[in-house]
């Protein structure tokens, strides 16, 4: 299990969290290489089906990151995103699935350090959980 490098899919909002990831890169901060960032225009763009697709295809962890509450480029997108995320995570939990593989975090455009910390912390957490069993489950 020592060699397990979790595959983490990150949905990052264009205005804050993706810029935060850029800052982390420019500052040469260490971010686990197995993290796959996907840039989206707003965290509220994340339809639950996208999270679930990543989950059922075997992603070990899924991070949704957006601007801090009150800072959304579209004023309230992240508030809606939080509700949608809660419904998604709660649905997985109610189905008895690994809702712990889902994380929502607010990362601003200047928080390169926080970005690196969130991704590292989440990666460590997923390492403890082990690989997503759906990675090798024929299909569901």
């Amino acid at each position: 299990m020592d060699t397990f490098e979790p595959k983490i899919v990150g949905f990052l909002c264009n205005w804050c969290s993706y810029a935060g990831a850029d800052v982390a890169g420019n500052a040469k901060l260490n971010v686990p290489a197995s993290f796959t960032p996907l840039r989206i225009m707003c965290s509220s763009r994340i339809d639950p089906a996208l999270i679930l697709t990543a989950y059922f295809r075997g992603a070990d962890g899924i991070l949704v990151a957006g601007c801090h509450p009150g800072d959304c480029h579209y004023e309230k997108g992240n508030y809606f995103a939080r509700r949608r995320f809660a419904v998604t995570k709660n649905t997985l939990k109610a189905l008895g699935l690994d809702s712990q593989r889902l994380r929502l975090s607010w990362i601003s455009a200047s928080e390169g350090k926080r970005f690196a910390e969130v991704v590292s912390e989440f990666t460590e957490h997923i390492k403890k959980l082990g690989p997503n069993p759906l990675k090798e489950t024929g299909d569901l």
Partner: protein, 363 residues
């Protein structure tokens, strides 16, 4: 005369009187189809059709909210129309109203106490026997021949519309109860005495609600054992043929183009090969659990537990009970009861600045 016929006749009498007094012009109500094998919603203008109406049919092949959605798709109705439906259907209508999928203007919603519905397939196998069974259901106010999801329904006497027809503990009569100011004004306009909840009625409703709550707890416990976890889910949905009937029959799944019916989930052959290679194998139809769980995240906040999905499932997966099980847990996040309050927004279109802290930065 059977209970069924008494309720039918009295309700029709009331509708006639209200229509004659100009409360509404048209009536949308279930009616037995000419072959006597099933029921269907009929929009009635001519009074001669009204005598054949069945306000409380034993089965419900098409959810009333879907009918009202088709009826008002291109805009609101010009004349007033009464829609007589079960509480779950009216609750779905109210949810669709919030979503702009039913134009509620000019619709008078009339709900009726519901003893439950018979499973559609068992009824159509022998309609005559079905009618006899339903007569018993009305007499005993729900028994185990009704659909399992109805046995766990605690909203059977919800005054969901503008006017409610109470039949529980009414001594072979119906009680026409105004629910809101609109209903009250209408009854005054057509000089129909407003009924109200009697003590006996309330006691009976309370007793039945307790019984159904007990059934619900039992059903939840069963589902916890048989649904939760990957292996259980695999077993539960193993028979799913991917027909999407559950989605098509669902009144809340209103999207004209469903994501799961779109090209977004149809892939190049290479993509399937890659998935099969990564996972070792790939079962078809693919993405079964993605479809069901995706639908849960999309519609569960407004799910009223009407059971249309379960009636429509050709392989008898208990979809209604499963979806209600999930829906109630999601609705609890926002203390939301779908269809209970027209003024209350659907949780996904509103927010509070500080809330759901448990979901932030946690795993």
């Amino acid at each position: 005369m059977s209970n069924y016929d008494i309720i039918r006749k009295k309700t029709i009498e009331f509708l006639k009187k209200a229509r004659d007094a100009g409360c509404f012009k048209h009536i949308l109500i279930p009616m037995e189809i000419p072959s006597k094998e099933s029921f269907s919603y009929v929009l009635i203008k001519d009074e001669s059709f009204l005598i054949d109406a069945s306000p409380l049919p034993p089965v419900n092949p098409v959810q009333g909210a879907k009918v009202l959605s088709s009826l008002t798709r291109r805009g609101e109705l010009t004349g007033k129309t009464a829609a007589v439906m079960r509480p779950c259907e009216i609750r779905a209508v109210i949810e669709l109203g919030k979503l702009g999928q039913v134009k509620l203007e000019n619709i008078v919603l009339i709900s009726i106490d519901c003893p439950g519905l018979l499973p559609f397939s068992s009824y159509t196998a022998d309609p005559e026997k079905g009618k006899a069974r339903f007569e018993k259901v009305i007499g005993e106010w729900g028994n185990d021949s009704i659909r399992p999801v109805c046995m766990t329904c605690t909203h059977f006497a919800d005054k969901a519309g503008d006017i409610h027809i109470g039949i529980i503990e009414n001594n072979n009569d119906i009680s026409v109860i105004p629910v809101n100011d609109r209903g009250k004004a209408l009854l005054e306009q057509c000089v129909i005495p407003a009924g109200k909840d009697t003590g006996a009625r309330e006691t009976k409703i309370k007793k039945e609600t307790d019984k159904r709550q007990e059934n619900l707890n039992k059903s939840d416990d069963e589902l916890k054992n048989s649904l939760q976890g990957l292996n259980n889910l695999d077993k539960m949905f193993a028979d799913c043929i991917g027909c999407y009937n559950c989605m098509r029959a669902c009144p809340i799944c209103y999207c004209r183009l469903c994501y799961f019916n779109s090209e977004n989930i149809r892939h190049e052959a290479d993509e399937y090969i890659r998935r099969a290679e990564a996972k070792g194998s790939l079962r078809f139809p693919a993405d079964t659990l993605l479809f069901h769980s995706g639908r849960m995240t999309h519609m569960s906040l407004s799910c009223v537990g009407c059971g249309a999905c379960e009636d429509a499932c050709p392989v008898s997966i208990p979809v209604a009970r499963i979806f209600q099980f999930i829906a109630r847990q999601n609705q609890a996040l926002f203390a939301y009861t779908p269809g209970s309050d027209r003024e209350e927004n659907i949780p996904l279109v509103v927010y509070k600045e500080s809330e759901l802290e448990d979901f932030e930065d946690s795993h």
